[in-house]
């Protein structure tokens, strides 16, 4: 990549220093917005840029901001820095190394919806990152970029960090709001959505860290410039968190529409030991398993193309699975995760994940029969479409696609069992 838009520290190592950030046009967008743009204009530019949410759902960011209810005040911004999807580690790199660009994004969003307070909700494990951000926020206060009457306009803004405490579900935006209110992190019923009923019941925009980090450059350089990256419907760049069976795991900032092949083989250095790639999970543990055939490898990673090969782009946490990996083992792993993280609020996810865990464990240990595999499929199908939030729905993706697309692995496991049974 010739130029980084998000992981700019890779080019400008000291960009985490306020002076350096400002030397590189930092906070010009915010200054421009607050002093010379109407809040709605900021939203319009973001809308026009085609930026879509990077937290997973890919919802158009500007459109979300425009939904904010203007009849109820105050408004809030909550930056989603919960980053807990297995395989995702991009927001962390941004916040550690390019914190000001992220904070400026939060500030622009706040200005656009006229919020005077924004919270950054970080997963509890990001304890040190929160401390780091707190210091950066203090610097912004000293520099007159946060506080009251900014640039003499009367607009005031404060940012606060808030630490979660080890619950994947708190990445789900309504659970996050509950958590921020000091309650159990269990999702709310929707509708109403946060832009009309959010934090403390007030209109709120929740955006992912990466999403917000795009905003300063969009405001500064314009929507058209941003649309120069990516594809028609998936504009801009995306950080792909590459992990699993690959030589060079890590974050790769690439235009949307880059193919899996390019990510894995050009940037990621291919599969260790020259082994064969077997499957791809493009959206972390929540993902369906894609059979990594030639067609799949040539699929562009954007919001439209990935569904065509039977998965979602999600947060673009691309987990690579090679031929040495056994799929029953893999789904046992993912189910353990979801069983551990189910909030317990709704029946299908709470009970279903527990049941599936017993089944995947038995299958993985070679103690199951084909009937158990079928039962697992039944249970997963039974969960589908009945959960209160997406976590429960995520939990079955790998299971159903695994059984469908890697049937031979399951047959082998069951075969092992049958062999044991027939032994004298």
């Amino acid at each position: 990549m010739s130029e980084y838009l998000l992981l700019r520290h890779r080019q400008i190592p000291d960009i985490g220093n306020l002076t350096v950030y400002r030397q590189n046009e930092g906070f010009q967008a915010f200054h421009k917005a607050v002093t010379s743009m109407k809040p709605e204009e900021v939203t319009e530019v973001v809308k026009a840029s085609g930026l879509r949410g990077r937290g997973g759902a890919g919802f158009p960011t500007g459109l979300k901001w425009s939904f904010i209810d203007k009849n109820k005040w105050p408004h809030y911004v909550v930056a989603n820095a919960d980053e807990s999807e297995p395989g995702t580690f991009k927001d962390r790199e941004i916040m550690e190394n390019n914190p000001f660009q992220f904070l400026e994004g939060v500030m622009l969003c706040a200005y656009a919806i006229q919020a005077n307070v924004a919270y950054i909700y970080l997963r509890g494990e990001f304890w040190q990152i929160a401390a780091h951000l707190d210091r950066k926020i203090a610097e912004l206060h000293s520099a007159g970029l946060l506080g009251d009457n900014l640039f003499g306009t009367g607009y005031s803004l404060r940012l606060y960090t808030h630490l979660g405490a080890g619950a994947y579900i708190c990445g789900e935006e309504t659970a996050m709001l509950e958590s921020l209110e000091g309650k159990l992190g269990q999702p709310r019923l929707r509708p109403p959505f946060p832009p009309s009923f959010g934090l403390y019941g007030m209109p709120t925009v929740v955006n992912n860290v990466e999403t917000l980090t795009n905003v300063p450059l969009i405001i500064e350089k314009g929507a058209a410039w941003y649309r120069g990256y990516g594809t028609e419907k998936s504009a801009g760049v995306k950080i792909f968190s590459l992990s699993g069976c690959v030589n060079k795991p890590g974050n790769y900032e690439l235009p949307l529409g880059t193919t899996f092949r390019e990510l894995i083989y050009e940037h990621g250095g291919g599969i260790p030991g020259g082994r064969q790639i077997k499957a791809i999970m493009p959206a972390g543990a929540s993902s369906s398993l894609i059979v990594a055939n030639e067609q799949a490898l040539d699929t562009p990673m954007d919001y439209e193309s990935v569904p065509a090969v039977g998965a979602q782009l999600g947060s673009a946490s691309v987990i690579i699975i090679d031929e040495s990996v056994d799929i029953p083992w893999l789904i046992n792993k993912t189910i353990h995760f979801f069983k551990h993280e189910s909030c317990g609020k709704c029946t299908p996810c709470r009970e279903g994940s527990y049941w599936m865990m017993h089944l995947t464990e038995r299958i993985d240990k070679g103690k199951a029969t084909w009937k158990d595999v079928e039962l697992l499929k039944d249970v997963a199908t039974q969960i589908r479409g009945k959960c209160l939030c997406a976590l429960g729905e995520f939990s079955i993706e790998a299971v159903l696609s695994g059984i469908d697309r890697f049937r031979q692995d399951f047959e082998a496991r069951v075969g092992a069992r049958e062999m044991i049974e027939t032994q004298p």
Binding site: E125, A165, G166
Partner: protein, 174 residues
């Protein structure tokens, strides 16, 4: 007789200042971290004190402790070594790493070394999948990440922790 309120009055004020005056309950999570720093886990007394500070019931505070996996209602080793064995890390050998580490310490996963210093646990993804094997250390001092680990480097860290070194490789706690 609110011990926390007395000992940390300034910190508590700073925490409360983050949230609207009529939404004090939001401060329950940061206050629980504060309490946990005191004793390594959240005592019943602390739950009552936090409840009193926020005008909610002890049960409401306890529910938070129970729901979130980073709060503990029971004491364990002084340092909790929490190894990520979730899928991406497991694909890069985290499970073997954990097994060997435990072997070296002579304990099983979830157990504490006889000297009460180290408890080893496995945890879900910590957003460090490209740097497996990795673990975090949680203690009264705070929480820190240790990435690209080998059993040797982990044992060295544990040795130094036992000698009283700090595990916070960067910033310490906020």
């Amino acid at each position: 007789m609110n011990h926390l309120a007395e000992k940390y009055s300034e910190e508590i004020q700073a925490i409360l200042a983050k949230y609207p005056a009529d939404q004090k309950r939001s401060a329950v999570m940061p206050l629980l971290y504060l309490a946990q720093r005191e004793s390594g886990y959240v005592t019943k007394t602390a739950m009552n004190e936090i409840a009193e500070l926020l005008g909610i019931t002890a049960t409401e505070v306890a529910s938070i402790v129970g729901f979130y996996s980073l709060y503990y209602d029971k004491p364990a080793g002084k340092y909790r070594i929490q190894v990520c064995t979730d899928l991406p890390c497991a694909l890069r050998g985290a499970e073997e790493f954990l097994e060997k580490l435990c072997e070296n310490l002579g304990i099983r996963v979830g157990e504490t070394t006889p000297d009460g210093m180290v408890t080893v646990e496995h945890v879900m993804c910590l957003a460090a999948c490209d740097k497996a094997p990795m673990f975090q250390v949680q203690s009264g001092e705070g929480l820190s990440y240790h990435e690209n680990q080998t059993v040797e480097s982990a044992m060295a860290l544990i040795q130094s922790l036992k000698k009283g070194a700090s595990h916070s490789n960067k910033d310490g706690h906020p």
